[in-house]
Amino acid sequence: MSNTVYDSMYDKLNELRITLSADAKVEGEHTLLKLPQLVIDYLDTRRSALSNAACRAQDSAALHLTWMQYHANMANQSPVVDSVAWELLYNELSTSYDITVSALHCIRLGLSDDPARPYIRIGELKDSINDMKTTPEFIAYANDMAEDLELDLTELLPPVIALEMDDVAGMNELAKQLFGSEAPDFLEAILSVPAGNDVTLA
């Protein structure tokens, strides 16, 4: 099997890693890039809310367990670094460095919930193949970069995340039960979803 398509992606992504690392500082084994202010502010807000709930729980623990349970649930369900923090980070870096979110998603990045460490740890590239299938990160990147890197997408191994025909048949059956025989074909429906804005300024 030719792996040229993966090599092309790795070469380009390594260039991006070098670009990011150029603005970073090195501490021991770690390459640390300053966290965008928007993400710092977002994490501060979350950290502060968790701290307030923790204090309320502590102050009332001798009297009742209401706030203890509340805080336990909150701490369990709302880590300081959540998916929204990652989305903000990806968008900020994407804008600052003029690179795609899919490229950033292929690099192992680390975020700390420590306010004293407002940095992104820049790691190695993620794996592109798992169990002879292309990982989701590299499927997205390959599709985004197919034209720029002149990638032949047919060279890619099958994706890890994919719809099997059995899944499609199941979806169609479910749709028919819900909407009757006029229900649209699931595959046709998802393939016909147009990308981009429905409206733009005239």
Binding site: S192, V193, P194, G196, N197, D198, V199, T200, L201, A202
Partner: protein, 141 residues
């Protein structure tokens, strides 16, 4: 007039960064008892402007005042060409925001079909299709 008030098209001022929420009050009832509710992808320049507008119209679903008027502009001399006007402070049009539509959008198609069938908020306009882009004048030497 319907049991939900005057037949109209309206858009929520506060909704999402990348989408606008449109309600149509009137017949036919497409996906709501009052008519139609639909979401359209829109650029942040539109949604940001929208969030700064003062809502004046009530939702037929909750009765809360969360919406501003919207209409579909159909150009008499340009068959099949329509734009959407959201009424508010001037953005790219003296009356608010004039939007071009994506022809192959299913959501847009559904909305236009509702407007045409219900004859709600449909403005027939003569003249050229509106554009806020300044046309460059050719140099004459």
């Amino acid at each position: 007039m319907t049991e939900y008030g005057t037949a109209r098209l309206q858009v929520r001022t506060q909704f999402d960064t990348n989408r606008i929420h449109v309600q149509g009050v009137g017949e036919p009832t497409v996906n709501r008892k009052y008519g139609i509710a639909i979401e359209l992808r829109a650029p942040p320049s539109v949604t940001e402007w929208l969030s700064e507008q003062e809502p004046t119209l009530p939702s037929p679903a909750s009765n809360s005042t969360l919406y501003i008027p919207m209409s579909v502009v159909s150009y008499i001399e340009h068959e099949g060409v329509v734009q959407i006007l959201i009424e508010g402070a001037e953005l790219n049009h003296p009356k608010g925001a004039m939007l071009d539509i994506k022809d192959d959008s299913v959501a847009i198609g559904t909305l236009i079909a509702f407007v045409k069938e219900s004859k709600t908020a449909l403005t027939l306009q003569d003249g050229d299709v509106y554009s806020s882009e300044v046309e460059e004048e050719e140099d004459s030497e």
